[in-house]
Amino acid sequence: MIPDFIRVSVVALGLTTGIGWADEPFIIVQSTTSTQNSGLLDYILPGFEAETGIDVRVVAVGTGQAIRNAVNGDGDVLLVHAKPAEEQFVADGWGVERFDVMYNDFVLVGPKSDPANVKGGSDIVEALATVAGGEAPFVSRGDDSGTHKAEMRHWGAAGIDPTGASGTWYREAGAGMGATLNVASGMGAYVLTDRATWLSFGNRGDLEVLVEGDPRLFNQYGVTLVNPEKHPGVRATAGQRFIDWLIGPDGQAAIDSYMLDGQQLFFSNAK
């Protein structure tokens, strides 16, 4: 147990600073950089907050880290995009039940000069094999995120292990989507990105979309309540309310109405 003096001093600290002890109910959502960097959550959350009075606090990290944080109990709801890893999360007992929420797609972007000559293709596996064959610079997330997992699946389908070339033409940024796009923009490299982050990204430089439309580039997002049986501190009622809203008509409509420069970034598909 925690000694009383620590408890008392922490409460005193909270009182004197007057911050961090808000009265309003809130939940913590462990989510990914793509939902935040694209502006989607900033757009849809005020609707839920006004309706319920529940403040939604979003921690945006890579899918891998979001899941690990949720396993530690440091979040009430998990909103990420790596279905196999999410199903494992539920199977291991850390999550209650996973629901589909929405989808968009990944695209391969690269420099306009297109040294590997992959432009206009719609076969991601073939395009990656061409990039690797020509040893054209490619920047990977390298951070165990949903996008990184998807990228590794396509390399696997092409029968290539690019990590052997790490540090040469294959660069692992070990960073979020936006930071990785900044690297690719700076060095004129190819990079796999989700379309939402790409469309809302402000520093494209010489990059453009080169390969899109492959069904394998489908990008599904799911939402899961962290299991209160594993972590009694989980705000299960408020968290479930958020999930119900997100996969219900109001949340789904809000997702579909989010536009950037006239383009829809996410498509609702809750069942």
């Binding site: 925690i2 911050i19 002890w21 606090r57 530690n72 109990g73 960073a175 923009s185």
Partner: protein, 244 residues
């Protein structure tokens, strides 16, 4: 200078936008600046309350292991913020020993992380200052019959200007730090988003304008802090001369 010129040239549009955000008093921007100041000022004050007595004790007390402790405190000044962030996260996580306090992802968590970072600076700088003064006044204090430990409050009071310099140095470390606060604060909008974490976020979104605007404010704060340090040091030196 040349580098600065290139930056301004290359990002002229962003730079103009940044300046207008600052000059127009953008509410969102200033809320972030205020939260940064509140978190770091509280962290520095708490660090002073913890670190200064430790530093003073290390300066005047004589006990076995004292030298080792001094080396340790000095080394802790260079503790990587990311590691501090990780340690505080592991403590405050719901799976951690202090999880029930529900402090993770709050400003209080960020204050705790900054206290861990800044306290060694307070202790080390205080130790140096007080040790020098203790040597200088050792005969006087002994002739007045003041014991070594009892002399601590007097020495601290005499060193007050130099200690303000320590406060400002600690504040500089706290306000500019990003690695620890982004882990334990979570960079949550309107709750734990401070200047440095916003700079990291906006850069990753390719929004160089807001990132640059906050960078300009951080540099401005650094200049103000340094100006205060040099003014105080100057005053302290003058008063020192008058005493002598």
């Amino acid at each position: 200078m040349l580098i600065w010129w290139y930056i301004v040239q290359g990002f002229a549009a962003e730079f103009n936008q940044a300046l207008s955000l600052i000059l127009n008093g953008d509410a969102e921007l200033w809320a972030i600046v205020l939260l940064s100041l509140r978190v770091s000022i509280f962290a520095v004050l708490i660090s002073a309350v913890i670190g200064m007595p430790i530093g003073a004790a290390l300066a005047v007390a004589r006990f076995p292991g004292r030298r080792v402790m001094i080396i340790l405190v000095n080394a802790l000044m260079g503790f990587p913020p990311v590691v501090v962030g990780l340690l505080v996260y592991l403590m405050l996580s719901r799976s951690g020993p202090l999880g029930v306090l529900e402090l993770l992802y709050t400003p209080t968590a960020m204050i705790i992380a900054q206290v861990v970072l800044v306290t060694p600076i307070m202790a080390a700088l205080t130790r140096q200052v007080v040790e020098m003064l203790a040597e200088e006044y050792s005969e006087q204090l002994r002739s007045l019959g003041v014991s070594r430990l009892a002399s601590v409050p007097v020495l601290l009071w005499d060193a007050r200007l130099a200690l303000v310099t320590a406060l400002l140095a600690g504040f500089g470390r706290a306000i500019a730090e990003v690695g620890a606060v982004i882990i334990v604060g979570g960079n949550i909008n309107h709750v734990t988003r401070v200047m440095t974490t916003t700079i990291a976020l906006e850069t990753s979104k390719g929004n160089l304008a807001l990132a640059l605007a906050l960078g300009v404010i951080l540099i401005g704060l650094a200049v103000v802090v340094n100006a205060m340090v040099s003014t105080l040091t100057l005053r302290a030196e003058r008063e020192g001369l008058r005493h002598a």
